[in-house]
Amino acid sequence: MHSSVVRVQNVFGFFTTVCFAVAAFIALSDYYSPRTPSATLAVKDIQVVRGRPHYYSTKKEEYAHIRFSLSSDLSTLFTWNTKQVFVYVSASWPDASAPNKTAHVNEAVIWDTIITSPSADHLQNIGPAAMKKLLKSAKGNAIDPSRGKLELKNQKPKYQITAPSGNVANIENVVLKLHYNVQPWVGILTWTPQMDILRWKQVKGGVSKAFKLPAIKVKEEKKKAAK
């Protein structure tokens, strides 16, 4: 039938094809823009305390609070196809009982943040005042490279780390690492690369020196209380 229905179908089909072609072009353009992130990450204050996973729990576990300083430049991750960059700092440590004592088989995120591109600011789940400020900060800009610059001094962790065994005190060879996950508007999601891929370079720095988690602090406090 060469009727209106067929014409509508043809137009719609062509529209879809064009949409997918444009989307593919945008997705592929990611590979063209270089990514050269850099960061310095340093451990500040560490505490290990005993606590409960939640208020009603009877189980007692050890929790490590790791304060850190982060100075990073992730501005090259922001392009026209970047929706948001999920930045996270993880602590990883080896398993002393495993055959390979040096492999960092345990990893836990201690801090994360979502940096939106100006194009995705309105999607953030934040209060109206903060939203107003955020929208204002990049008014008129499609891309805001300054968003990728983080300066955190003695930052409190968002998550305290623990292990299934409940013991984290005295663990040695712990390392903090900065990671990111670039969320595109369309296309492939990318994480911190393990090697240089064409124009995408590895994070320069972004790993802290190895450190040891201290002994539990609670005991000392108890001792103090006893005195």
């Binding site: 345990n106 836990a108 999607l123 369309v186 492939i188």
Partner: protein, 172 residues
């Protein structure tokens, strides 16, 4: 139309054309399943727990093979909880150990708490086999149609009605 019924070969060919369209779509889906090793290689986001990264109706492509490395912290995975049939898309925030026994904890970017509450009773962690794939690619909005259809059943009726009307009108 009527002559098609008179000639069985012609009718068989017509039926085959229709059947091959359906079966090719199904086999492409299964092929994608086999390649990605995931029972459901494309999923539609149903909740806002990963906002602003994913919104309802976005389409996610999954990969369920560990060719280069294991599923690790920071990856966004889709997992099934035993006894619940709705897959959940969340980010891995903790991993203890390696291999198939590794304990994984997930959390939605937009949620305050981790997923311990979402897991089955007595389950504190996920293991690799609970996961049906890691998100590797993303297309926005496209899946919204399915959400509309499942949330507003009357839309299905309207669509069926429209299709029927079209068939009647096309006959002339």
């Amino acid at each position: 139309m009527l002559s098609a019924l008179q000639n069985p070969r012609y009718a068989a060919a017509q039926l085959l054309n229709f059947g091959l369209i359906l079966s090719t779509a199904f086999m492409m889906w299964k092929g994608l399943s086999v390649i990605s090793d995931s029972p459901s290689p494309i999923v539609v986001v149903l909740s806002g727990s990963m906002e602003p990264a994913f919104q309802r109706g976005d389409l996610l492509f999954l990969w369920n093979r560990n060719w280069m490395e294991e599923t690790k912290v920071g990856e966004i995975v889709v997992y099934n909880v035993k006894g619940k049939d709705i897959p959940i898309v969340h980010r891995v925030v903790r991993k203890f150990g390696i291999g198939s026994k590794a304990k994984l904890l997930t959390k939605g970017d937009n949620n305050l708490a981790d997923d311990t509450e979402l897991y089955a009773r007595g389950q504190d962690f996920l293991v690799r086999e609970d996961i049906i794939g890691s998100v590797v690619a993303y297309i926005p909005f496209v899946g919204y149609v399915t959400i509309m259809l499942s949330e507003h059943p009357w839309l299905k009726t309207v669509m069926l009605g429209l299709m029927g009307l079209m068939v009647v009108l096309q006959r002339e």
